[in-house]
């Protein structure tokens, strides 16, 4: 018998860093007579932890950390901004809790959600809880987003026990193959396709089918988050966002300096720290934010005029899609999405010379000019692009899954 009920698995979210480092109060209900010995002992353990941390001399030397919840079924952050589409009601998306971007991509898609930790192997009780969660409302299709050992375990479990068809989506590109772990993970995904664990494998980067005839030819499209209503157009506030890590591929510095070269960007929010160099200091306008979780990012998007995500290699950046939902233009590098690239909004937002400051600054100015001149025109353009993207995205996902 499973000790972890589906409800509790879905409700408990992983501890935030603050929770990890700070003692927290734990409320413990009285043990129920019907509870299994494991549930009852867990309750006792939690209560003892609370007793320990409640004492001034008890918790000082040792900080308790709960075991991280390994599975989250239809967790609130994974449902809140998802698009609804009855065609995909029987689809379950399986993804890693810890991969922020891929989790966002999966979270906005229509269908049910299963977030799995990749930080440790899954416990038997957690596997049982997954089965319990989907036994009533059996999924017809499972979509595994990128390779992880636990994700493969879950995929096999759902296929074997519940008879679901299993599909994989690779959220990377061949440009990342210099990273051993990316290459290995991609290889493992292909192995799953070859050994029949996956009924299909698709990518979000065009052209990956050239690597294997087992890869679906048509590229899948990431969705923007679903908001209750798109924000109304508003005046410029003189703020830009560069939510990029500091690495070569992500091109952090070019984005920051290009934004700084545009006088209308009086505040530039960044999410990474960079070493200060006396000769080329980071611009005065830079305001460093700590890591943004999704609600915080959305708060920032409500207050800025433009976001910059012009990286040297990219599939379909989530920041651009999240900006789109808030009708904030976002600069990106070339995405090679075919017809979609020819949409007027994309022609403004995509920059060819992403590593050239002048090119990038010109693109920033171009978008801000349009926004200044007619915020309505820009909003309508983005409305239209979002409609096109969602319709095309649903068609492609349906075609891939055979729905």
């Amino acid at each position: 018998m499973s000790k972890v009920s589906t409800q509790s698995a879905a409700r408990v979210s992983p501890p935030s860093p603050a929770e990890v480092t700070r003692p927290r109060a734990v409320s413990v209900a009285a043990p129920k007579a019907s509870a299994s010995w494991g549930e009852r002992l867990s309750g006792l353990a939690r209560e003892l932890a609370a007793l320990r941390t409640g004492r001034a001399d008890g918790g000082a030397a040792h900080t308790p950390v709960a075991f991280k919840q390994g599975i989250l079924v239809d967790a609130e952050p994974d449902r809140r901004w998802a698009h609804a589409d009855p065609r995909f009601d029987q689809v379950v998306h399986v993804f890693a809790q810890e991969w922020f971007g891929i989790r966002s991509a999966a979270a906005y898609l229509p269908g049910r959600k299963l977030a799995v930790t990749i930080e440790r192997p899954l416990w038997p009780v957690e596997k049982s809880a997954v089965l319990a969660a989907f036994r009533e409302d059996r999924p017809s299709h499972v979509v595994v987003h990128t390779y992880g050992e636990n994700l493969a375990v879950i995929a096999r479990l759902l296929r074997r026990k519940l008879g679901a068809r299993v599909f994989g989506v690779w959220h990377g590109s061949s440009a990342q193959f210099h990273l051993d772990h990316e290459l290995r993970a991609f290889g493992s995904m292909l192995d799953l396709r070859h050994d029949g664990t996956l009924d299909g494998l698709a990518c979000v980067k065009p052209g990956m089918h050239l690597l294997s005839d087992q890869i679906h030819r048509n590229v899948l499209l990431n969705y923007p988050p679903k908001l209750p209503a798109p924000p109304a157009g508003r005046d410029l506030r003189g703020a830009a966002l560069v939510p990029l890590p500091v690495d070569w591929r992500k091109n952090f510095h070019t984005n920051v300096y290009a934004a700084a070269a545009e006088p209308r960007c009086r505040t530039i929010y960044v999410t990474s720290r960079s070493t200060r160099l006396r000769q080329v200091p980071l611009p005065r306008q830079v305001v460093e934010l700590r890591h943004l979780d999704r609600p915080s990012l959305f708060e920032i998007l409500r207050t800025i005029d433009i976001s910059l995500n012009a990286t040297l290699s990219e599939c379909q950046p989530m920041v651009a899609l999240e900006s789109l939902a808030f009708r904030v233009p976002c600069l990106t590098g070339p995405l090679a999405l075919g017809e979609l690239d020819r949409h007027p909004y994309q022609r403004l937002a995509q920059v060819a010379g992403v590593d050239t400051l002048t090119e990038l600054r010109a693109a920033v100015s171009r978008l801000l000019d349009l926004r200044e001149r007619s915020v309505e025109e820009l909003s309508q353009m983005m409305d239209d692009y979002e409609r096109l993207l969602l319709a095309e995205g649903a068609d492609r996902l349906g075609e891939f899954l055979g729905l």
Binding site: G38, A49, A66, F67, E119, R120
Partner: protein
């Protein structure tokens, strides 16, 4: 329609790609299978060092066998089942063979996961390479449909009786691995009953083991031999084994020389037609030839010349130990006259070789060999009736015990948690037990008179829980501190379970451990203990991420190595409760009480199962018993005490030489290492910190400010080249911010005011004093 059974032979010898009799035997087995109409799909798994690939394999064997190659490499981020990570190869410090055995398990398990399921996997006995796979099968973790077999060729433990090599802890570990593989395998195959008897006698294996060994005569010839040539006028004396101590080339040379002197009419030569892996030993052996007879002794190569000598010579096999000896059969088939050492198990009276009928035997002495050669000189051409190979066991389905139920165990398991002032860790320990899904568990917390303030409310709460109706938790409070052994014994006495799990209050177990161990003991009634590979962690965060900074790997019952090193298991293990009716933890042992118990159990023939995956998580914390300085001398005293008080006679097969490899003499402790010095600037920073802590908000504010400043432009947060530690900082972990600050100031001072730096340092040091 039935599918063909599938067999995998694990070997590192394969004729014609490697030398060695075992490779010839595998070669013969593959060809025999083909000659029998391919009743079985044969696979061969060889290490990467063997010079063979699929085209070369196909050229020799056609489609008679499929080749697989395994490489020894540290697996990358390997993950075992059920939340139990795999230990990396570097954790297998007992001996390299243990890690190789682990790697072989990974390779075979990967094959199984890919759908290549074998009906039989057969390992050779030497080096214990089957150990990990056999344990995994017994534990129910893999190979559910596969029978794991071990074939007796010649273990290092056996050869050591005849071919001494310097004993070391590593060699002891290999010998105990070999012993475990032979004992624990589902099936053991030997070619002759006399070889089984030799193992029982010399390795101390139980009679029950011998009665279950499958005796099967293998295909000793790869093809039907041609008719023997007519006897030559003069036969040479031929030694065709290998120049190695166990093969007794010394006996051949001395006996042949004596024979030449005793029979001046004999005009033949004495020829060594064999390989010599050790050039120094070869020189020593050739140096035994009397100078006046040197012209009559020759060294020949292999190949055709050797074949010719086997057919025409008097072939002498003086070996002390052979499990089969293909050379003797090859020579017999080719027409050679055989002179065999009757003390060798392969040539006893139950073998096809019969004194006076088809060979001449001698008693293993020089004189005996000389007389046997005299008889052989006048013997007629022998006719050894070589038995036809039997249908191999792998053509028949495994007996029922090889296919066991995977149903969950219904046994009750008592978890005995001993606590002494470790209450602060108890919640995690209990939570880790609670995460197990075994249906019937009772938890007994034995508190050994804890005095820490934090323990009291926790124990009171456990006591209230224990008083609740239907509670599975019990609390036993020792009125006075009795010590760890006595506390465990008390818990065990109160336990109602069929099995008991011993756990310390600061350690944790995997969610699968209890179920796995209970199932394994259910399935394997001949085993009494399940021990786990251990992962060492420092913080709960590390544990949650399964990030271990070290591991401990075990062999289980290792009666020889166990005299000097605890490779039995860690303190946490699952035992049959009934074991403690005859034994208990020795309450006089202040430490290594677990080792003491394991040694006694092993020497009484109790058997252990060892998990390959990490199911036990050991917390390394300041002040733990193992972290507390047990000096080498103190440890040696404890081991002395353990051995001296050993209640039983040493069982047969235990290597007494092990005792030569224990700890340094207890009376002569080595000089302790110099205490690490703490830099002055850190001492000052610590003092400043203490002062600042008087006003906690100011302390917090200062810390946050410094953190921000250092993150932007300060020094790196880690200094891996620094090896000393302070009470507040463990090297390898991020430095406290105050240390980073004084490091920065120190570097600044050194670079800007190099003259002032030493003066200031001296002044501050004086102030500090």
């Amino acid at each position: 329609m039935t599918t063909r059974r599938r067999v995998c032979l694990v070997t590192d010898e394969l004729y014609p790609f490697t030398p060695g009799g075992i490779g010839r035997l595998v070669h013969n087995q593959l060809l025999d299978n083909r000659a029998r109409g391919d009743p079985v799909e044969m696979h061969v798994l060889v290490p990467a060092g063997v010079d063979v690939d699929r085209p070369r394999m196909a050229a020799v064997f056609g489609d008679a066998a499929r080749l697989h190659v395994w490489a020894f490499e540290d697996p990358v981020a390997a993950q075992g089942p059920d939340d139990a990570p795999e230990a990396p190869a570097s954790a297998f410090t007992s001996c390299p063979e243990h890690a190789q055995s682990r790697r072989l398990l990974q390779v075979l398990r990967a094959m199984e996961r890919k759908g290549l399921v074998f009906d039989v996997i057969e390992f050779p006995d030497y080096r214990g390479l089957g150990f990990c796979s056999i344990q995994e099968k017994r534990l129910g973790g893999a190979f559910e449909r596969t029978e794991i077999a071990v074939r007796v060729h010649g273990t290092l433990a056996m050869i050591q009786h005849f071919d001494y090599r310097p004993l070391s802890r590593e060699l002891l570990a290999v010998m105990d691995l070999e012993r475990k593989a032979l004992l624990d395998a589902e099936r053991v195959i030997a070619h002759l009953p006399s070889v089984v008897a030799a193992h029982t006698r010399l390795l101390g294996l139980p009679e029950a083991w011998a009665s279950h060994v499958t005796i099967e005569f293998p295909p000793v010839l790869s093809e039907k031999p041609p008719a023997p040539p007519p006897p030559p006028r003069v036969r040479d004396l031929v030694f065709a084994s290998r120049i190695q101590e166990v093969k007794r080339p010394d006996l051949f040379i001395r006996g042949s020389a004596e024979f030449m002197r005793a029979c001046p009419g004999f005009k033949g030569r004495a020829v060594l037609a064999c390989s010599a892996p050790d050039p120094a030993y070869r020189e020593m052996i050739l140096g035994l030839v009397p100078p006046d007879l040197r012209r009559r002794f020759a060294v020949a190569g292999g190949g055709l010349e050797r074949d010719k000598l086997l057919a025409s010579g008097i072939v002498v096999v003086p070996s002390d130990y052979e499990s089969l000896c293909l050379v003797a059969y090859e020579a017999a088939a080719a027409g050679g006259v055989l002179v065999l050492n009757s003390a060798c198990p392969a040539f006893d009276s139950a073998s096809p070789f019969q004194e006076g009928k088809n060979c001449c035997k001698f008693d293993g002495t020089v004189q005996g060999l000389e007389r046997a050669l005299e008889r052989a000189l006048h013997a007629s051409t022998p006719l050894v009736s070589i038995p036809a190979p039997e249908a191999p066991y792998w053509e028949r389905p495994a007996p029922a015990p090889a296919r066991r139920s995977r149903a969950p165990s219904k046994a009750r398991v008592s978890v005995i948690i001993t606590n002494h002032n470790l209450g602060q860790y108890l919640p995690e320990t209990l939570a880790s037990v609670a995460a197990n899904d075994h249906p019937d568990v009772e938890v007994i917390v034995v508190d050994d008179a804890s005095t820490a303030a934090v323990d009291r409310p926790l124990l009171d709460r456990i006591e209230r829980e224990a008083a609740e109706p239907g509670s599975r938790v019990r609390l036993l409070r020792n009125p006075v501190n009795r010590g760890l052994s006595a506390s465990r014994n008390r818990g065990i006495r109160e336990a109602k379970g069929d099995y008991v799990l011993i756990l310390d209050a600061d350690d944790c177990i995997s969610p699968a451990y209890i179920g796995l161990a209970a199932r394994a003991l259910d399935r394997n009634p001949e085993f009494d203990v399940v021990v786990s590979t251990a992962g060492f962690f420092r913080t709960d965060g590390d544990l949650a991420r399964r990030e271990f900074f070290d591991y401990a790997t075990f062999i289980g019952d290792c009666p020889s190595l166990g005299l000097v090193e605890n490779r039995f298991g860690c303190a946490t293990a699952v035992f049959r409760r009934s074991l403690f009716d005859e034994l208990a933890y020795d309450e006089r042992m202040p430490a290594i009480e677990d080792w003491t118990l394991y040694l006694r159990l092993a020497h009484r023939g109790r058997r252990f199962l060892v998990t390959n995956d990490v199911h036990f998580f050991y917390r390394r914390r300041p002040g733990s018993m193992s972290a507390q300085a047990l000096t080498a001398a103190g440890r040696a005293h404890l081991i002395d005490r353990m051995i001296e008080r050993h209640p039983d006679a040493l069982p047969r097969g235990v290597r007494l030489g092990a005792l030569m490899h224990g700890y340094p003499a207890a009376g002569a402790p080595p000089a302790p290492p110099p205490a690490p010095s703490i830099p002055l600037r850190y001492s000052l920073a610590d003092r400043g910190n203490e002062v600042l802590k008087i006003v906690p908000p100011a302390h917090l504010r200062a810390k946050e400010t410094l953190n921000g400043w250092l993150a932007w432009g300060g020094p790196p947060r880690e200094a891996p080249n620094e090896v000393w530690g302070t009470p507040n900082w463990i090297p390898g972990t991020p430095k406290p911010v105050r240390y980073q600050l004084v490091d920065t100031l120190n570097a600044l001072l050194k670079s800007k005011l190099p003259i002032l730096h030493p003066l200031l340092k001296d002044a501050l040091a004086a102030l500090g004093r």
